[in-house]
Amino acid sequence: MNAFIAIVRRDLLLAARRKSEVLTALFFFMIVVSLFPLGIGPETAMLRRIAPGVLWVAALLAAMLSLGRLFATDHQDGTLEQMALSPTPLAVLVSGKVLAHWLTSGLPLVLLAPVLGLQFDLSARALGVLMLSLLLGTPILSLIGAIGAALTLGVRGGGVLLSLLVLPLYIPALIFGAGAVEADVAGLGAGGHLSLLGALLALGVFFAPWAATAALRIALD
């Protein structure tokens, strides 16, 4: 447990050392969201329709982009070897890293999403559902992403390969997440979608650290 806390604190410290790091993930999210109206045109009714999809896709890309760093630097400088040799089970340390990743790249997205939703003229209620769906969904992104990051470790061109592996796995989260907001906007109630998202999250918390650990051991061999 101490080692778990130590690793979360270390990763947060590293993120804080580069003050800009957390902020830039956020701004990436903002910019991607803003690109769509630029590409598509400014019509409000249309923008409102595509808003949940765009926001979720952007969140997904922002979370994915920071995955590359998740294990790569630890691998390069030998820290990962040391983690594998530590008496604490590797899966615990991996969970710590995933938690830190979510704190620095998922949580800020959840908090920023309503502001961007305003740009697309979403109602206050829809914004609430959007936040809730992201709150349940972004940890899934970090968890699944950890598996992908571990699998592509030390593989050159890993960044792109990573997205190839991870994006298909993100699709259920995307469908339920964006679906929840759309269902709410259409007046259908978002409960069903949200509870499915919750189930996915439970599944992820249970299995992802284990799978990521197995993948890391392969990369180290």
Binding site: N2, A3, R10, L85, P87
Partner: protein, 204 residues
């Protein structure tokens, strides 16, 4: 006591070595020697459990390592070619955090003392990125001073160090051996350690 029985290692379609047996009793050292590419690094990684052996097995205190891997890891310190230093953290932070992650938090005074002793006084708070090659190695070596592990496995610990640092490191190794520690290391240079130990030659 660490014992290897008939270790073999394959890389690609090449057998690097086979039938490697050795014994390291408590308080002794073993230097692995051999030309470049003989498989020294590969052997050390097998011992540390970072890579699998094609044949053979290891015993620690008379028990096969495979049966009690966690226990073995708790008594092991491995330093490889890569120094496990975070470029963005200072030497002090690197040392403290590595210890905390390994499950043995370190207080600042001890960490500072270790850095001083290894010759990094005045550089404790610089980000490691700006340190010179040799200074980075020293940060990694400072881990030795804070370690409670009995078995040290060091891959070319003397590389990039200046003469003073080499002497200092020898002292540290001697102290470890005197405490009854075990040491397995590689080096292309001749090394003068007190106490007894042996050599293992790999390669043709």
């Amino acid at each position: 006591m660490l014992q290897a029985h008939g270790l073999a290692c394959d890389r690609g379609d090449r057998r690097l070595f086979s039938g490697v047996d050795f014994v390291v009793p408590a308080g002794e050292w073993l230097q692995v020697e051999g030309p470049n590419g003989a498989g020294k690094t590969s052997l050390l990684r097998i011992v540390a459990g970072l890579a699998g052996a094609a044949e053979g097995h290891l015993e620690w205190e008379g028990r096969p390592v495979a049966e009690a891997r966690d226990e073995f890891h708790a008594r092991l310190l491995y330093l490889g070619h890569a120094p496990a230093i975070k470029d963005d953290l200072s030497a002090l932070e690197n040392l403290q955090i590595a210890a905390a992650v390994a499950g043995r938090p370190l207080d600042e005074a001890t960490a500072l003392a270790a850095l001083r002793r290894i010759g990094l006084a005045g550089r404790e708070d610089l980000p490691s990125r700006v340190l010179s090659q040799g200074q980075k190695r020293r940060v990694a070596l400072a881990r030795l001073l804070c370690s409670q592990a009995r078995l040290w496995v060091l891959d070319e610990p003397f590389v990039a160090l200046d003469v003073a640092a080499v002497d200092q490191l020898c002292n540290i190794l001697d102290e470890h051996l005197a405490r009854g520690g075990l040491l397995l290391f590689t080096s292309h240079q001749a090394v003068h350690l007190a106490g007894s130990g042996g050599n293992l030659r790999l390669g043709r």
